[in-house]
């Protein structure tokens, strides 16, 4: 019965269009492996959540997926285009136009108004008249509930509003894939719920594939179709929110339940503490 279900799932997965496909993706910084053999397929229209503790490689994975970092080995395909080793800037720009990113701190251009921030990608990548761009900006800002704030500077609005403006900018070109880097970090619970709702709404209304990096489990359960957990640069679990919630894996349990004690260590030193303390001390000195 179980086997049949698995086979059915596999068949269903085969039918769905793969938007991003990572195979054996690895990234090494100064001799330290940050990502190790990541294998991940992301399907059209799905809301994929990548969870994991601080320093587990979530942000590095995101940066590899958006081609800010070049992976050291493996393959990364975006709508069938291989991004690893892609040197052609024109081709890369064509790929970039198909995705949008909501950065952790919004990354709004501080010298431009809220409206100009949203208008910039549209203006630069189309030949539309200014009046049409103004209408599009209003539509995008209305989607995030900030239509009346177009004339303000980013410094004049709150952190939550900045994130919503950044979201409006990220969807300015109607991308097919939207990446979110910790979209709810530093926000109050109400604003967190608002952003979560926006992510779900955008995904439903525009059939946008969403890849969300977070360590906020409440948000993850609210948004996700599928959750992937990273630990020390490796995928250690993946499944539906229910499967992750009921996982018997000790690492997953500790993370999802927010437990202080468990297999994920607090200390990240490679050496033994006492060995480290006594390094270089001669025995006759400790008497």
């Amino acid at each position: 019965m179980e086997e049949q279900k698995n086979q059915q799932n596999q068949k269903e997965e085969q039918k769905r269009e793969v938007v991003i496909s990572a195979k054996n993706l690895s990234k090494i910084f100064s001799g330290r492996t940050v990502l190790k053999d990541i294998n991940l397929d992301i399907y059209k229209g799905e809301r994929l959540i990548i969870i994991g503790g601080s320093g587990c490689g979530k942000s590095t994975l995101l940066r590899c997926l958006i081609n800010v970092y070049q992976p050291d080995c493996g393959s990364l395909k975006f709508f069938g285009t291989e991004l690893v080793g892609l040197k052609d800037e024109k081709k890369m720009d064509e790929v970039r136009k198909r995705f949008g990113i909501l950065f952790q701190n919004g990354a709004l251009y501080n010298s431009l108004t809220v409206g100009e921030n949203v208008a910039l990608p549209i203006r630069e990548h189309s030949n539309l008249a200014k009046s049409v761009i103004d209408i599009m900006v209003k539509v995008k800002l209305e989607l995030v509930g900030l239509r009346d704030f177009g004339h303000l500077m980013p410094s004049q609005i709150s952190g939550g509003m900045q994130k919503r403006v950044a979201l409006a900018r990220a969807i300015a070109l109607d991308p097919e894939v939207l990446f979110y880097d910790e979209p709810t970090s530093g926000l109050d619970p109400i604003m967190t719920a608002v952003i979560d709702e926006l992510i779900v709404e955008l995904n439903k209304k525009m059939n946008m594939t969403s890849v969300v990096i977070t360590h906020d489990m409440a948000s993850a359960y609210r948004i996700a179709h599928r959750i992937v957990m990273l630990y020390k640069g490796e995928v250690i679990a993946q499944g539906t929110p229910e499967e992750i919630k009921n996982s018997q894996d000790k690492f997953v349990q500790q993370f999802t339940q927010g437990l202080a004690d468990g297999p994920i260590p607090l200390r990240v030193s490679s050496k033994d503490f006492y060995e480290d303390l006594l390094e270089g001390v001669r025995p006759n000195e400790i008497r």
């Binding site: 958006i66 800010v68 970039r96 136009k97 701190n105 990354a107 251009y109 910039l120 990608p121």
Partner: protein
């Protein structure tokens, strides 16, 4: 020791190659991209000219006015001793228009504009704005670097002309007070001393100085790592390197002038 020297040499070569790639990109966006239909962002250049150029006028005027006065004060005892006090006009006109005006304006601008550009781009880098541009398929060199380089290269020659005038006026006031040289005589001698080829030389020199200041500032801004501390460090480096390269470039220009443009009478 050898390892440290080797590391330093490799680091220096890496920096040099990175700066070379940035310069190549800047030149591409200025000279080649417009031929392929990519327009130069004139509104952004105009905004930057106001920011780095117009706002620097008071400080440039003050500095060169005082330098003109200092030159006159320093030279006056010698000129009185030789009985040629009016020669002060020629000395100030030649020194300011040929070397001091462009050099000092560029040095002041490396602190005024260079530091501001490096800190601005560095902060944008730290707050992921550069990455946001890049991932939106908007080239940061085209959007941020080229307007700043062109604006500084356009603003600097204009500032040099203003600074030349300020230096000459500073000399005029001092020579009137200390040497009793009449303003009309001073202006006549100044007019006779200034040559068109010197002004052209000074203008070309200041365009290059402007490009050095802005491209180094942008390079250091893009290089920023590690938050506020990184911004501070790179801003300082940008000013220091700008000053060194401006003085070196000035030396090369002076040698070139002596070899090809100087007419010994």
């Amino acid at each position: 020791m050898i390892r440290t020297l080797g590391k330093a040499a490799i680091g220096f070569l890496k920096e040099l190659s990175n700066f070379f790639y940035l310069t190549r990109d800047i030149l591409y966006w200025i000279f080649i991209a417009p031929l392929k239909g990519k327009r130069i962002r004139t509104e952004s250049i105009a905004y930057q000219i106001v920011r780095v150029g117009v706002r620097a006028i008071p400080i440039i005027c003050l500095v060169l006015f005082l330098v003109g006065m200092i030159l006159a004060v320093a030279m006056s005892p010698l000129l009185v001793r030789f009985g040629v006090p009016s020669l002060i006009a020629n000395i100030i006109a030649v020194s300011v228009t040929r070397e001091i005006g462009a050099l000092l304006t560029a040095l002041v601008m490396s602190g005024f504009a260079g530091a501001s550009i490096a800190a601005e781009i560095g902060t944008m880098n730290v707050s992921e704005e550069l990455m946001a541009l890049e991932t939106s398929a908007l080239n940061p060199v085209y959007f941020l670097v080229v307007p700043r380089v062109l604006a500084t290269a356009i603003a600097l020659p204009c500032l040099v002309i203003i600074s030349d005038v300020a230096g000459i006026v500073g000399g005029l006031i001092t020579s009137r007070l200390l040497l009793d040289v009449s303003p009309s005589l001073y202006m006549q001698l100044t007019y006779e001393s200034i040559e068109i080829r010197v002004l052209v030389y000074s203008t070309i020199k200041s365009v290059i100085f402007g490009m050095i200041i802005a491209s180094l500032a942008c390079y250091h801004g893009i290089k920023v790592r590690g938050g506020a501390e990184g911004v501070g460090k790179e801003t300082t480096s940008s000013v220091v390197y700008s000053m060194i390269f401006i003085i070196l470039a000035n030396l090369v220009f002076s040698m070139f002038y002596n070899m090809y443009l100087e007419v010994y009478k």
